[in-house]
């Protein structure tokens, strides 16, 4: 295997994983923009998406139905979470809210453990496991699914924020909460929407990644952390930043594992993060 095809392999791997990171980072960004909260339960949405889809699929439901239903259910969880735990706290400090999301993350993880047990489960691949070759690297069809769905979700999000009333309202309340209230936007409702939306995105990420990496009740923590990491690298609050950060983290991590040392793969990821922050304290595309 030549170095060239190795590089191609690393990059392809990095792009698929990076896509997932990017989706999770987008989830962080949406909630952060409308509420200022870092939602530590974001990874748990990813986990729930995967786990619910798997259990629905095993009941014999077609894959697509299972996936859609799972996204809906996780969205409902996101809504419920906002209503019950975030909404009642008017004017609490951000750190308090963050601790609440940590509590929620522990809680959701515990519930998932009780429902699904501790073992990993797998969703069948969307279209077989036959690998094919590009430029000396091998890819699974599922990787293309991941990439395709990730990009479509990003596109849909873009369209949503640019062309729908709700999307515009969310953007407005992200840009200036006071001004948004003045023009009649219900900012608190926007917070609810943001939780629903990022729960849905998390669920999508969880579903598409499950055939490749499996799901288990505790898969969310690390994915959530990496997503947070990606969001910070790109610049917190910037959607293009989240996407850039996600792909960058995925690719660099994969190259690092390939060329430096796989023992220090996660350390590589966090060193990248620290370097970026020291050079650009507000992330690559962050507002100064």
């Amino acid at each position: 295997m030549t170095t060239y095809s190795q590089v191609v392999q690393y990059v392809i791997t990095g792009i698929t994983i990076g896509g997932i990171y990017a989706l999770i980072a987008l989830g962080f960004t949406i909630i952060y923009n409308t509420t200022g909260i870092i939602n530590f339960a974001q990874g748990e949405f990813v986990m729930l998406g995967g786990m619910i889809a798997v259990s629905l699929a095993t009941t014999g439901l077609p894959l697509l139905c299972a996936a859609l239903l799972s996204v809906l259910l996780v969205t409902a969880v996101g809504l419920l979470f906002e209503r019950l735990a975030i909404h009642p706290l008017k004017g609490a400090s951000i750190i308090t809210l963050i601790i609440i999301t940590i509590g929620a993350s522990i809680f959701l993880k515990g519930v998932a453990m009780l429902i699904w047990g501790k073992d990993a489960v797998r969703l069948p691949s969307f279209s077989g496991d036959k690998p094919f070759h590009i430029l000396g690297a091998t890819i699974l069809p599922q990787h293309l699914w991941i990439l395709g769905i990730t990009l479509s979700v990003m596109l849909l999000l873009h369209l949503f924020f640019e062309y729908t009333i709700l999307g515009k309202a969310m953007r407005a309340s992200a840009a200036n909460r006071l001004a948004a209230t003045l023009v009649g936007i219900n900012v608190r409702k926007m917070a609810m929407c943001s939780f629903a939306l990022s729960a849905a995105i998390g669920a999508v990420a969880g579903i598409i990644i499950s055939p490749v990496t499996f799901s288990s009740y505790d898969v969310g923590t690390m994915l959530g952390l990496k997503g947070f990491c990606a969001a910070i690298i790109g610049g917190l609050g910037s959607s293009p930043g989240a996407i850039l950060g996600g792909f960058l983290l995925g690719i660099l991590e994969s190259l690092g594992a390939g060329f430096l040392s796989s023992s220090y793969k996660d350390a590589t990821a966090f060193c990248i993060l620290l370097t970026v922050l020291f050079l650009r304290p507000r992330g690559i595309l962050g507002r100064p």
């Binding site: 994983i17 997932i20 073992d119 797998r122 490749v212 793969k265």
Partner: protein, 384 residues
């Protein structure tokens, strides 16, 4: 108002009555209390859960059969979450609050090592369910263990490699103590057998993808990949190898000896070879094998009670509890005597092998405790 008070009175009286009743019954013979600490939650929970389930199963069976010489057996189980601090507190609680006679577990090597001092100080027998050789080497007076050490698993794998004339291997391991300890053992034993390790790779417990590491291995002239880890990582390794079109054999560790691996890896599990205790291939064993009947019974009982197949981790707990129980039968409720009895156990047939303890050997197994197993048609098959 009066009625309410009456109800309340009953509410208070009921527990008292129950207590009197229970203690009245128990007065016939004292309950034997044994402590158990497993990683029931946390990253090591795939180990701790079957261990706990096995212990509960055995507890029921023993009590239904009349207990130990008429004494009811009570196993108090605590969760360590795989965390040293929590484990330490659980051990303290077992020793000083619950006042148990012996302790089995914990599931992880790290947690075991963290409580050895405590156990030695409190002078209470401990039978660990963790793999690391460091637990019993050097020998500690009060500490035993039932799982086959990774040293033995590595030895078995080296034998297998030599038979196949493989002399260049690549190692990929999970970056937790289990995986790193396996890697270290391979690094020690492989060169002694004239086998060269051409690549070392590592992956995180929850890593979603290992193609980067495997691509690197693919670039070397390794003749086999040895993967050391517990689910789900090894399954991803198997799938990624298939994806990359790697044809060289994949040898896994005994860490994948549960059905989950086959389920997760799917077709990629076919042809994977690994060393394991005889439990998972019990049906294929010759009838002359002394362990066979016992293994079949355990496997069936477990399947019946929990609707899942038993695995070797549960087996470690089976062995540990049975060792304590048999010692208890002979020694009675005396910690020091129980310890002596465990140390004097010879030819004890367990799920993990045939145990022979001695003052210098607190694991009691040889590499014969392992057999090589392969996966064919989604099932375990005994090699040769």
């Amino acid at each position: 108002m009066f009625r309410l008070n009456k109800k309340l009175m009953w509410l208070f009286c009921l527990p008292v009555l129950l207590f009197v009743l229970i203690s009245g019954c128990a007065k016939e013979k004292k309950v034997y209390k044994i402590g158990a600490i497993f990683a029931i939650t946390g990253p090591a929970s795939p180990l701790g859960t079957p261990e706990r389930d096995t212990v509960k199963l055995l507890e029921d069976q023993i009590n239904q059969a009349g207990g130990i010489d008429g004494h009811r057996l009570k196993v108090i189980i605590y969760d360590t979450a795989g965390d040293e601090t929590k484990c330490r507190m659980a051990v303290k609680k077992l020793i000083y609050k619950d006042k148990v006679l012996a302790i089995i577990g914990p599931s992880r090597s790290g947690t075991t090592l963290a409580i050895i001092d405590e156990v030695q100080k409190a002078e209470i027998p401990l039978i660990s369910c963790a793999a690391s050789i460091k637990i019993v080497e050097p020998v500690k007076k009060w500490v035993f263990k039932t799982p086959q050490s990774d040293v033995l698993a590595v030895a078995k794998i080296i034998d297998y490699l030599k038979e196949r004339n493989i002399d260049k291997i690549a190692i990929i391991n999970v970056s937790n103590p289990y995986g790193i300890s396996g890697k270290e053992q391979l690094d020690i034993q492989a060169p002694q057998a004239g086998i060269q390790v051409v690549a070392h790779e590592e992956f995180g417990q929850k890593d979603p993808d290992m193609t980067a590491q495997l691509t690197r291995i693919k670039g070397t002239d390794a003749q086999a990949v040895i993967c050391w880890g517990t689910n789900p990582g090894p399954a991803i390794v198997a799938r990624n190898m298939r994806q990359l079109g790697m044809q060289i054999p994949l040898i896994q560790s005994h860490g994948i000896a549960n059905k989950k691996f086959i389920e997760l890896a799917g077709e990629a599990a076919e042809g994977v070879v690994f060393p394991a205790g005889r439990l998972i291939v019990a049906e294929e064993l010759p009838d002359s094998d002394p362990q066979k009947s016992l293994l079949l019974k355990y496997a069936n009982d477990f399947q019946q009670k929990y609707g899942r197949s038993a695995d070797t981790f549960g087996g470690h707990a089976w062995d540990a509890l049975q060792l304590v129980v048999s010692a208890l039968k002979k020694a009675g409720p005396d910690k020091a005597k129980i310890r002596d009895e465990i140390e004097n156990t010879r030819n004890f047939i367990g799920t993990g092998g045939i145990f022979n303890f001695s003052p210098t050997e607190h694991n009691g197994l040889t590499k014969e405790a392992f057999v090589m197993v392969t996966i064919r048609d989604g099932n375990w098959r005994l090699l040769k």
